[in-house]
């Protein structure tokens, strides 16, 4: 298939500078037998393209195993892609030398899913927050302390003095996640990658943390990649949404548009499987596509969703990989159902 460059015809979006551009990204993991001889690949991310603008919040939604964590790790520079580019402020991170990577890591913050697992149990809050500053070469002790104070106030861990000496196990789940957020923010990054930042937290705390993140994103004008499987939180958080299935980006759209008008059958399934609290839910069955996501070692030919899709077109969907169509401006979908409604 011909790989096209991501289209840049988004008039109102394009006024903002592109901070991160993912082009033609393929991340495959090698499968080896007995430690040598490659017997195959896990195609965790397969031909993904998108642009992220300065100050924009996007959500990546998909089931586990769809490649969203691999995409995140590639963006963080932790995994090298097999092919394609991760361009941040004009520099290709996938091919960067260690000096560029060091600079890059000060520009990108990472918020982990499980706060307790992400915080070293033997370090106090102060040491946890000081370490990135030491690595970034902030020599003055005074300045480091000032910055720690500032960031802890921003994530509402006050009175700051009470928390500085505490160890992670002495904090509640919400407070631990605030420390993780503070650590991600302390070097004043331009981009934050958050991997399911609230899924381990209680419902009441979850909203509090989401609002905190949203507030930080707006006040610091951060670009934000929010990885989640929970569609109901997405609209409070991001402007655009990317839907991933089996290593592919199947749909990307502004959030309001996607909720009103989901185009891909998979997005449809995700939306109809999301419940709102309503007693009537118990009276009927939910429509769920049969089967499970495919193995990424031998993904299905053609569209990867076709074995589970109720609207599959015989002779097309199982043969040819659908390109991206743009039936509605800014709303792209990789599905043959929309080939009539305005191709690329």
């Amino acid at each position: 298939m011909v790989i096209e460059a991501p289209s840049r015809i988004k008039p109102e979006m394009d006024q903002r500078e592109v901070l991160l551009s993912i082009q033609n990204l393929h991340v495959w993991y090698e499968l080896r037998r007995f430690g040598f001889g490659i017997v195959g690949y896990v195609r965790a991310v397969d031909n993904v393209n998108f642009d992220l603008h300065l100050g924009e919040a996007v959500a990546v939604v998909g089931e586990s195993g769809c490649g969203k964590s691999t995409l995140m790790k590639t963006i963080l520079g932790l995994v090298k892609p097999r092919q394609g580019q991760v361009i941040f402020e004009g520099k290709d991170i996938a091919q960067a030398d260690s000096a560029t990577l060091k600079w890059y890591r000060s520009q990108v913050g990472y918020i982990q899913q499980d706060p307790y697992g992400a915080l070293p149990p033997f370090m106090s809050v102060r040491r946890i927050l000081e370490e990135p500053l030491v690595i970034a070469g902030v020599k003055s002790r005074q300045e480091r302390l000032e910055r720690i104070h500032r960031v802890m106030e921003e994530v509402k861990l006050y009175p700051v003095e009470d928390f500085l000496g505490k160890f992670p196990h002495m904090l509640s789940g919400g407070q631990q996640q605030r420390v993780v957020i503070a650590r991600a923010m302390i070097l004043n990054p331009k981009l934050i990658v958050a991997d399911e930042p609230v899924s381990m937290l209680d419902a009441s705390v979850r909203v509090e943390i989401l609002k905190l993140l949203r507030g930080l994103q707006e006040s610091h004008h951060l670009s934000f990649i929010y990885i989640t499987h929970d569609l109901s939180t997405v609209k409070y958080f991001s402007e655009r949404i990317f839907v991933m299935y089996a290593g592919k980006l199947v749909e990307q759209s502004p959030i309001g548009e996607l909720l009103k008008n989901p185009l891909h059958p998979y997005t449809h399934a995700l939306l109809s499987a999301t419940s709102d609290p309503d007693a009537r839910n118990a009276l009927s069955f939910r429509e769920v596509p049969p089967g499970e996501p495919p193995s990424l070692v031998k993904p299905p030919t053609g569209c990867r969703f076709h074995p589970r899709c109720s609207q599959m077109i015989q002779g097309l969907c199982e043969v040819e990989d659908p390109p991206e169509f743009t039936p509605v401006p800014d709303h792209r979908v990789a599905c043959w159902l929309h080939k009539e409604s305005g191709g690329d």
Binding site: E63, S64, S172, G173, D202, A203, S204, V205, R206, V207, E208, L210, K211, H229, D230, L231, S232, T233, K235, Y236, L259, A269, L270, L271, A273, T274, S275, D276, P277, D278, A279, R280, N281, A282, F285, R286, V288, P289, E292
Partner: protein
Amino acid sequence: MVSTNGKLLRVENLVMYFATLRGPVQAVDGVDFELGVNRAVVILGESGCGKSSLAKAILRLLPRNIARYSGRIFLHDRDVMQLSDEEFRQNIRWVEMSLVPQAAMNALNPVLRVGDQVAEPAMIHMGMSKAEALEAARTMFQRVGVAEDFLTRYPFELSGGMRQRVALAMALVTLPSLVILDEPTSALDLLTQANIFNTLKRIKKELGTSFILITHDIATSSELADDVAVMYAGQIVETGEAKDFFPDPLHPYSKMLMASVPRLRADQDPQFITGQPPSLISPPSGCRFAERCPARFEKCSEEPPVIEKDGRKVRCWLYA
């Protein structure tokens, strides 16, 4: 809970405290509720409110550091608290009530075939032969939507959703009248979650099983719930039918809990509850939610009564 059916389960003043160095933890403190035949009650609450302890207390799965365990549990109008541990094990656990524990999908024995694991409770509790029990397991696999040839597989060969179904089959293989589900889908994907709830709904219809569903995921819980009980700091603060509760919760805590749920199909901004639940070692006297409650008044320093209102029960002075 208005129900024309007889009551399957009636819990009265159930108490379970754990002994710790700093004093007893009052994990379950005077819980009362009822459950009708072929109904599902969901127990909602934040982590640490005692929901899982309540499940363990009902099944008498007591930890070693138990400090106090009392109250009455009527199952089919028979007080099972009077039974000895051995009688309870032989006649109640698995036979009448079974449990799908939290993260059950990771609790399967990795070195045994899943079919054998599902057959085991039937052999031990129903006295079936191995062949009969495997047949029962096969039937149950079909019911929960696992292909028959998975009987001879090992847990690592199954996906998370399939393992969760196997855990469910294990709880159902003895055909108990009550199954307690502790966070049955919290580690699963959205579509898998919807699938498992479809399966639970079907089983409830076909086998007439009753369920106690313990979760903090309010939105998903509405998929199965006939009744709702809200738990806060070891006590049940509100019970009622789901159709009354979801649109209009009564207790201020229930109201705030419902307001914290992000909704896909409505545009209200979710709210959060400030503050922390109280320590269960020395809970405050009076209403335990008073400290975080926006509607508190002088009365709240006294222990609130349980008020009945249109078939619903709420533990709050506002309705006195």
